[in-house]
């Protein structure tokens, strides 16, 4: 039998109105953006009939193509590096006894979440500039490294959560059954941790794909990613091409985040 709750927010005055307002604010701009990506005219706010022309233009635009490829290369590499680092960090902070400075280490790992991104961006700009001068190397490596660094905490959090929720008796049992620490990690810890690792990698991927500030500061000439390319378009006449690119990015992100939620959802 359904019991009546003593406190039910839905019965507070204005609950429905506030909820609707919040959702409208969240989604109306995005819905508008998606609708105008199918605009027949070249305006981002005047409807000129349904058309897929801006998608075609975006896909045929070589600048967009190379920016998209660059974005995916950076996001894939950065999420792989960040996830590896985050897995090691999560193991290092959960699979051992308490140690002095534990909280400081924890804060340091999550530093990118707290330091203003613009500060990190400027710091990386200066730091990488001197390396560029010293080595002469101006490739994608800088962007990949920068993205890896700020993606670590996003990968770390789900992995650490999974590790903390995992019964350490599993690892004790493996050791009891003659598994060395390395074998225990390979055969027991890692397979059980896999959903967390995948979730972390996907989150890192999406975060990297989306980054503007750090990318804008760190990139060398001709190293636009999709977001910085779109930012560049603002300086010229804005066309629904930007809407089309945004809609594709949105679709990719939704697919990845849905997979993330399915993967982290509690089973059993």
């Amino acid at each position: 039998m359904a019991r009546r709750r003593s406190f039910d927010v839905t019965r507070l005055p204005g609950f429905t109105a506030i909820a609707i307002l919040a959702f409208v604010l969240l989604y109306a701009p995005i819905v508008t953006l998606v609708i105008y990506s199918f605009n027949g005219s070249s305006s981002v706010n005047l409807w000129g009939g349904f058309s897929l022309q801006w998608y075609r233009i975006a896909f045929e635009n070589e600048a967009v193509q190379s920016a998209a490829v660059r974005s995916f290369v950076i996001a894939a590499s950065a999420s792989m590096i960040a996830t590896t680092v985050a897995t090691l960090a999560a193991l290092g902070t959960t699979r051992r006894g308490k140690f002095p400075g534990q909280t400081i280490i924890y804060v340091m790992i999550n530093q990118p979440l707290m330091v203003p991104e613009i500060v990190t961006a400027v710091a990386l700009l200066i730091f990488f500039a001197s390396i560029k001068i010293a080595t002469g190397y101006t490739g994608l490596g800088y962007l990949i490294l920068a993205h890896s660094a700020f993606c670590v905490p996003f990968a770390y959090l789900p992995i650490r959560a999974r590790l903390e929720g995992m019964d350490s008796a599993m690892e004790t049992a493996a050791a009891d059954l003659y598994a060395s620490p390395v074998q225990t990690f390979r055969h027991i810890t890692l397979p059980l941790l896999m959903p967390g690792v995948l979730a972390g990698a996907m989150l890192a991927f999406v975060i990297s794909l989306d980054d503007v500030i750090i990318t804008e500061f760190v990139k060398s000439a001709g190293q636009d990613t999709l977001p910085t390319y779109m930012l560049g378009q603002l300086r010229r006449a804005l066309t629904p091409e930007v809407n089309a690119i945004s809609t594709v990015l949105l679709a990719v992100t939704i697919v990845i985040l849905t997979a993330f939620f399915l993967m982290t959802r509690k089973r059993d």
């Binding site: 008796a169 049992a173 493996a174 009891d176 059954l177 074998q183 059980l192």
Partner: protein
């Protein structure tokens, strides 16, 4: 040297915490467990029995003292290099591996050949009667089945010693009884030394060759179930195992005199002064009031338990006893509340307790 003990703990101490808050989970425990024995560590929760088991398994390192396995000092050996296996209280089955893969795990880590692994898994599955469950995942099994997989997994590598940490505590009563005889059968069939941890005294009495009773980190008494039950050495052991009566008396020439003035001809074993005696309820007999050699008492309460009836008795000095007598078929209780009776205690069934 033919009878080197399977397991030996020498003056094992395990201290948690430091300084004033330090707690001795194990307080100078020495124990010798023979090969092929079913040895039970019995005690209330927090008595150190699981800590001792974990020291033998290698999950804990003793603060001082030594652990020997077949005469070899393994105190510093990591758990994966000790030829012992554990059945965990929570089973700790690997959820991502099938029943067969769980059982195969230890053998694979030992580097056994594929054929040998397959053969052993099949044999062990048959041993615990789970042949048809080989390809299931642990969460698809009932609690009792998971328990048997945990057993099979620990038995598969044929360890020198099998450690069992309250393995039956999560099972319901009926299943627990079944698993008790199952465990006993497995131990007899495999001949492996079992070290079994439990807080259930009945489990300990029915299954073990010998029992070690622990309390507050100390090993109080080691003996066969019969010795532990009939000849408890101190009050804790007498009280923890089964039901019992305590009587206080003073040592006099020829026995112990109770406060009632009656003297019981108990073997004294060097005790003197004020002593506590213990006698099991089923060893007390009730005779008619005034019968020679009996202690006068009054029945204060009777409780019917089916096969037997408990008679609560009060002696002349106010001390209380419980006598357990077999119930009489179809009749009334032999003695009713308020009856004056004579209590008969055979001196041989009395035990003088030490500290």
């Amino acid at each position: 040297m033919t009878d080197t003990p399977a397991v030996e703990a020498r003056n094992t101490v395990k201290t948690y915490g430091v300084g004033a808050s330090a707690v001795n989970a194990l307080d100078d425990v020495s124990i010798t467990i023979a090969k092929g024995e079913f040895f039970t560590l019995l005690g209330p929760s927090g008595c150190g029995k699981t800590t001792l088991l974990r020291c033998i398994a290698g999950f804990e390192t003793p603060t001082s003292g030594a652990i020997l396995l077949s005469g070899r000092d393994i105190t510093a050996t990591p758990p994966n290099a000790r030829p012992v296996n554990t059945v965990f209280q929570s089973y700790a089955l690997f959820p991502h591996l099938t029943v067969a893969a769980n059982i195969a795990f230890g053998l694979q880590m030992l580097g056994k050949s594929r054929a040998e692994v397959a053969q052993t898994v099949e044999r062990v599955l048959a041993l615990v009667r789970l042949e048809s469950f080989a390809d299931r995942l642990p969460q698809q099994l009932s609690g009792g089945q998971q328990q048997r997989v945990a057993l099979a997994r620990a038995l598969a590598p044929a360890p020198q010693v099998l450690l069992l940490d309250e393995p039956l505590s999560a099972l319901d009563l009926k299943l627990r009884k079944e698993m008790q005889s199952e465990l006993k059968r497995l131990q007899t069939e495999t001949g492996i030394t079992f070290v079994f941890v439990t807080h259930d005294q009945e489990e300990a009495l029915t299954m073990s060759n010998r029992i070690g009773v622990m309390s507050a980190g100390r090993l109080l008494q080691v003996g066969t179930p019969r010795e532990i039950y009939d000849r408890p050495r101190n009050r804790f052991v007498a009280d923890f195992i089964g039901e019992t009566n305590f009587l206080v008396g003073t040592v006099v020439p020829g026995g112990v005199r109770l406060a009632t003035g009656d003297t019981l001809a108990v073997p004294l074993n060097g005790h003197s002064g004020e002593v506590t005696l213990t006698v099991r309820p089923e060893q007390i007999r009730i005779a008619a009031d005034g019968t020679g050699g009996t202690i006068p008492a009054r029945v204060t309460q009777t409780t019917y338990f089916g096969t037997d009836t408990h008679y609560h008795l009060q002696l002349g000095d106010g001390s209380a006893l419980v006598a357990r007598l077999q119930s009489r078929a179809g009749g009334d209780d032999a003695h009713a509340q308020g009856d004056a009776v004579g209590v008969q205690i055979d001196a041989g069934t009395l035990q003088v307790l030490g500290e």
